[in-house]
Amino acid sequence: MTSRTMQAHPAGEHEAAAVIQHGQSGMPTALVGMLLFIASEVMFFAGLFATYFNARASVGAGQWGPPEGAHELDLPLAAVLTAILVASSFTMQFGVWAIRRGDTGKLKLWTGITLALGALFLAGQLYDYSELGFGISDGVFGTTFYTLTGFHGAHVFGGTVGLTIVLARAMRGQFSARNHVAVEAVSMYWHFVDVVWIGVFSTIYLLR
């Protein structure tokens, strides 16, 4: 008796590690897990965005901005950071395509570049923080600004940790065309981080 949920794997093929059952089709379980995790993170940022928008509506869009005496937001710098992060998403995807073709060398190259761009983004973010004249306790704009960008930065940092792990494993030759779920998972996460930044940038710097 056949079953529609089975794939045509000959019996005896083995799946890797934790609880993969023979005959799974579709997205690898680990990737499903990452996707679900990302969904929860989207909702987390939704909550933070809600606080931003609510505060902005309460204060009034006209008066919304850094407190008196502080610098205006550095839009050019933020635009550069956006470019860096968007570029890093491209380089990450090049890496994914490379390993899908089995090209470990290119994977290492593109992952390294992505990692460098991510680190550059973080450095730029910290530099921006140092230049601003207000803090988290300087009124509701400061609070929402630092919370939103700060948690995003923390997620970028988490992503760079993931990229480092991927790079290390790639350098030890652990990935192949058929075996690179970790790369796919980290790249999914990295794209998510990028999309959230586009949201943050548009909201805080463009929409104001």
């Binding site: 019996a11 005896g12 093929e13 083995h14 799946e15 890797a16 590690a17 934790a18 609880v19 993969i20 059952q21 023979h22 005959g23 799974q24 690898p28 379980t29 680990a30 897990g33 792990i165 494993r169 652990q174 058929r178 075996n179 690179h180 779920v181 970790a182 998972a185």
Partner: protein
Amino acid sequence: MPDTVIGFVLLGIVMLVVLGIVFAIASRGGPATAAAKPPRGVHMPGPSFLPVVMSVAAALLGAGLAFRGQDQLANPFLAIPGLLVLVAGVVAWVRAANHEWRDTEHGSHDDGAAH
């Protein structure tokens, strides 16, 4: 607050004593017994201390945040050990996942990370 510190030191001592007792009991092993094998084609991670350890570390970090003094980001005596153990735990987790991946027969075309 001095009381808090005393409270935590006492709690810590109690926990160490309890864990010591637990270890004393736990280190009494026994002869090899039959262990069930998984059906063919199914691979599962073995037992692990990491979930308990990571939970304790997360709780320490959290307690550090809750018990911060004025002008502190967090209480360093709690938060720093918590953070260190957490990081070490993540490293150990990823390495364990790697080992299990490599230990599975023939590798696979579906690298499910061992969780």
